[in-house]
Symmetry: C2
Subunit: 204 residues, 2 copies
Amino acid sequence: MSTTRSAEDPAARAPGLRERKKARTRFEIQQEALRLFAEKGYAATTVEQIAEAADVSPSTFFRYFPTKAAVVLTDDFDPIFIETFRTQPPEIAVVPAIRAALRHTFGDMPADQAAAAAERNELMLSEPELRAAFAEFLISSTRLLLEMVAERAGRTVEDPEAIAVSGAIMGVILSALVLSGRSLEEKIDELDRQLQRLETGFRL
Amino acid sequence: MSTTRSAEDPAARAPGLRERKKARTRFEIQQEALRLFAEKGYAATTVEQIAEAADVSPSTFFRYFPTKAAVVLTDDFDPIFIETFRTQPPEIAVVPAIRAALRHTFGDMPADQAAAAAERNELMLSEPELRAAFAEFLISSTRLLLEMVAERAGRTVEDPEAIAVSGAIMGVILSALVLSGRSLEEKIDELDRQLQRLETGFRL
DNA sequence: CTGGAAATTGACAGTCACTATCAGAAACCC
DNA sequence: GGGTTTCTGATAGTGACTGTCAATTTCCAG
């Protein structure tokens, strides 16, 4: 059996070689793609070039990412955010719970991850093609948010007030992301204050 | 100066044959495209088929519409809405002014236009490709809304509160459009009530 | 009304994102 | 090691979109 190294080997701890290789390939593709995008621009980079840089075939690229845009839009924060929101004490209202979840998810983010997120965010908004794909994300997120809101408030997903508040929250988030010209950190702070206004109403 | 009354002639009032032909071709293409989309679905309809149905070459199609999606997204209501909003009495606050403008723009819409708008709306949300293009529209609309809000409220476009309220309004509109499963007319009514909640704050 | 300038058009060739298929290689399980 | 499953690359497509260029159509001046 083990003429070679034992179970302590960090390469052997993962759920299997296949899984590890997949994760590694996926990461590699994304890494190279983002590098090329930053280097030559999104539109000027072809999938073939990404595949070549990541040392896979174009076919393989599409097995890992359904579209060229997905390589930019793939985001690991959603599940964390959702979980945090769900585990807020039930007596807290929707908007405060959202605020708490946002603070928790994005508040103490490692610097390198924050930088990467900011970069992808910028890319997402500057490239028309990606802005388009962003809509997909936006709409599905709004749907998801509505479900979470309804669950917490004890309403159905058809409830007009639940729909309105979900939309308003998403709109505030979107506008903070798109319109506010600040750093990601400042945006999070600002976002918190803006959401607070949803609770009290706007006086403009 | 009028020896002839030709200026009244509806056919001669137009800026020239070239212009008229262009407008007519444009209308023809859009007409045929929407018919084919309704008939066979958006994805299943190729530009070549649209071009053939409209009796032009594929090249010509792309000279009139930058993308296949643009043929669906072309919209004539924005300018009306903007004008109505701008001409609201200045003492009225932002949200009520939006509500008034929405009611005026979409409230007394002719039945056939409403039907066409509803159809395009449905198409826009059901087809992934179009939903993507919808984002373009969404983001630019939010920017525009921010400008209008800032103007009315005497704030700059960097003002956080102006940003927040613009986003919230847009979010409420979006969610009403996307999430609420009603007819267009009902949606407008519902939208009015949902916007009202923005003024008073949410209690969920 | 006519000749030339300018705009519009269609044909053609090409790029690129994305899909379907299929045979071979790698990893899994025994 | 043998049999099964999964992953991969090569190939050949489809369809949206772009660039070019010559032919046609509309415009306008004389």
